[in-house]
């Protein structure tokens, strides 16, 4: 892999990690007053996809979208301000952590209903195909989405119309506190299932950002070449609780040992160690990278905290693009 790409990957993963850790640290202050799903441990796929996608490619995501938004190049300040409920937020305070958008980099929106953006992403791809664009629509989703009717209906259409869709599944083994075995049949394999829909699939290690980047890049090239939709399933693990800033290995739905085994596969550590080992970076480079990130993130938090609240009357604006008298 190109060393610059590798460094960019590491940088993006660290940046996401740092942002998420900082949110977790500050969340108990009670200033971020919305449900917040953190991606610590899951930075690999987000960083890889963000780097592999073109800026004019589109992406959509779900409730756990900070990493995807940042990976795709979304504005950090606007995201944090949104989580703080400020007027400068990417939704001007209307959406919070579960609704991120930065159309300037093709991040078209993340929403809070599991599976809800899957057909939306497919519809974006229909537009691309109709207009003869070479863009790709990337749909970030979790393992639970493979249980929703919305996914199957949408994937069938994507396959039927051979649309430029990249389904990116992060399989972190859990949906909230529910392990896969209470949700999907024994022996069922997500990727094979999707292959049955007529979609070419592949699997990968989501904690190996380099190989994830390569697999995603290959899939994107195939899609752009007119190969139709691709589905990639990456294994990964969420370190923190499902929603909120804490660790929750103690409450009984998973074991500390399981968590530790996955933590040992930390995608950030792994790539950093590799880049140090092959001398792509040295300790100083790493320290500089960390410091730059810290500076950017601290500034963004300061910004978000200092930003103004939205005016109360904006609770009643923007419902319609073309409102009538009496509605805004």
């Amino acid at each position: 892999m190109n060393p610059n790409t590798a460094k960019a990957l590491l940088n993006q993963m660290k940046r996401i990690r740092f942002v998420e850790a900082e949110i977790a640290r500050r969340y108990p202050e009670g200033k971020m007053r919305c449900p917040t799903h953190l991606s610590v441990g899951q930075e690999g796929v987000a960083a890889a996809a963000g780097l592999a996608l073109r800026q004019d490619d589109k992406a959509v995501s779900g409730h756990r979208a900070h990493a995807h938004y940042l990976g795709k190049g979304g504005n950090l300040k606007a995201m944090l301000a949104e989580i703080y409920g400020k007027a400068t937020g990417c939704c001007q305070g209307k959406g919070g952590s579960m609704h991120l958008i930065d159309e300037s980099v093709g991040f078209m929106g993340s929403t809070a209903i599991v599976g809800g953006t899957v057909p939306v992403g497919v519809g974006l791809a229909y537009g691309m195909k109709l207009k003869g664009s070479s863009q790709v629509s990337c749909i970030f989703h979790g393992d639970a989405v493979l249980e929703t009717g919305a996914f199957f209906e949408s994937a069938n259409f994507a396959a039927l119309k051979q649309l430029p869709v990249l389904f990116l599944c992060e399989n972190n083994l859990y949906s909230v506190y529910s392990p896969l075995q209470v949700r999907q049949a024994p022996g069922r394999d997500i990727a094979s299932l999707v292959a049955g829909l007529g979609i070419t699939v592949d699997r990968g290690d989501g904690n190996d950002a380099v190989s994830a980047y390569e697999k995603i890049s290959k899939a994107l090239a195939e899609i752009r070449a007119g190969g139709g939709p691709r589905f990639l399933e990456f294994s990964t693990y969420r370190w923190l609780e499902h929603c909120g800033p804490n660790f929750d290995n103690d409450i009984g739905y998973r074991t500390e040992a399981e968590y530790l085994a996955w933590k040992a596969k930390d995608p950030v550590e792994r790539l950093q160690a590799a880049l140090l080992a092959d001398a792509t970076m040295n300790a100083d480079d790493v320290a500089r990278m960390d410091a730059d990130i810290k500076q950017e993130v601290d500034a963004a938090f300061a910004d978000a905290e200092a930003a103004p609240w939205p005016a109360p009357e904006t609770a009643y604006t923007d419902l319609y693009a073309n409102p009538w008298a009496g509605a805004a």
Binding site: E103, G116, L124, G127, A321
Partner: protein, 351 residues
């Protein structure tokens, strides 16, 4: 201007919209099939190609979300459900996504989606092919809802719906498809949110919608011959409702009767009565009233639908009661020549 059917008017509106804007796409189950959704989509695939007008798998939820995504990309999708009842599968996409996108993302991008839903009635459509759930859509912030009652309005409102930047639910009643009217040619648009006063009168305000307007016109004309003059307002738009027009009328007449094609409890007619009771209290000289479907699904047997629907005679009768002037309604019912469970003799099943 020429006499065309309501279905032809929809076809003309779709054709015009697709001609005007290459971003207009039409799809839904059976849209390009030989029947062309009761004729409303016939010939369009030939004109605009299979990429802009296409069939769909049975996947109502995804098809709605796909429309949202296509709309976000800049297209103007028109989705068709052969029955409103099937669209129940798509409420998540419609309400959680389409209706809220512009708001929850801070006004960044709107969803110019039009969703046609056909309201079934009669010939044994039965419990799950005849629902009129306009009250649901009218309750959802972020949606717009129209219910045309004439061919002209069907064309004008559909074109406006398609070119409106917000999601619009376009409810078309199966019993209107064959009704004829003068329809302006070309790019004819009517503003969303404006009611139409179809009969003027000083005695009572009658508010109606969709097919009920047809029954109301029969009733109003019959009453006019007897010296009772109705201000008959066809809502056309269910969200927003044209309150100024209704309020002004009630201020003139002092009486209000609201007709609804949906089940009574929780219907749009209730919202109209409530709002007018709140706002026009001083103008009202008697209790506002409603006539709507009973709080039961429409059964299948013709024996069970014969007295189920509100028809012109009931409207006329109720108006007479409200005015304290009993009206003989038998001749009104007697005017109908075709069986009660079909819109006209042209209809002989099977759906």
């Amino acid at each position: 201007m020429s006499q065309t059917t309501f279905a032809q008017a929809i076809n003309a509106a779709l054709s015009e919209a697709m001609r005007l804007d290459p971003g207009v796409i039409c799809y839904g189950l059976g849209v390009p099939d030989p029947k062309g959704v009761f004729g409303t989509t016939l010939g369009l695939q030939e004109k605009f190609g299979p990429e802009r007008l296409f069939d769909m798998p049975t996947a109502e939820n995804a098809m709605t979300g796909i429309g949202i995504g296509a709309a976000l990309y800049g297209l103007r999708p028109v989705i068709t459900h052969q029955r409103l009842d099937f669209a129940l599968l798509s409420m998540d996409q419609l309400v959680n996504n389409a209706a809220k996108w512009h708001f929850m993302f801070g006004g960044q991008r709107s969803v110019p989606l039009t969703v046609r839903m056909i309201l079934g009635r009669g010939w044994g459509q039965g419990p799950t092919h005849s629902q009129n759930l306009q009250a649901w859509f009218a309750h959802v912030p972020g949606l717009k809802v129209v219910m045309p009652a004439s061919a002209e309005d069907a064309k004008g409102l559909l074109l406006s719906a398609i070119f409106d930047p917000d999601p619009v639910i376009f409810l078309e009643h199966r019993w209107l498809h064959n009704m004829k009217g003068e329809v302006p040619a070309g790019d004819y648009r009517l503003p969303l949110g404006k009611a139409k006063t179809v009969r003027e009168g000083k005695d009572i305000t009658v508010v109606s919608m969709s097919y009920m307007t047809v029954e109301a016109i029969h009733a109003a004309d019959y009453l006019a011959a007897q010296g009772i003059h109705c201000d008959l307002i066809d809502l056309r738009s269910i969200r927003p409702i044209d309150w100024p027009t209704i309020e002004a009328s009630v201020c003139r007449t002092g009486r209000l009767l609201v007709l609804d094609t949906g089940n009574l409890t929780g219907s749009v007619s209730g919202e109209v009565v409530a709002r007018i009771a709140e706002r026009c209290w001083d103008a009202l000289i008697c209790a506002p009233q409603r006539l709507a479907m009973p709080d039961f699904p429409e059964a299948t047997s013709p024996a069970l639908t014969e007295h189920y629907h509100v028809r012109a005679e009931h409207v006329a009768g109720r108006i007479g009661t409200m005015l304290g002037r009993p009206v003989d309604t038998a001749p009104l019912a007697g005017q109908r020549s075709h069986p009660h469970d079909v819109p006209g003799d042209w209809f002989a099943g099977p759906f």
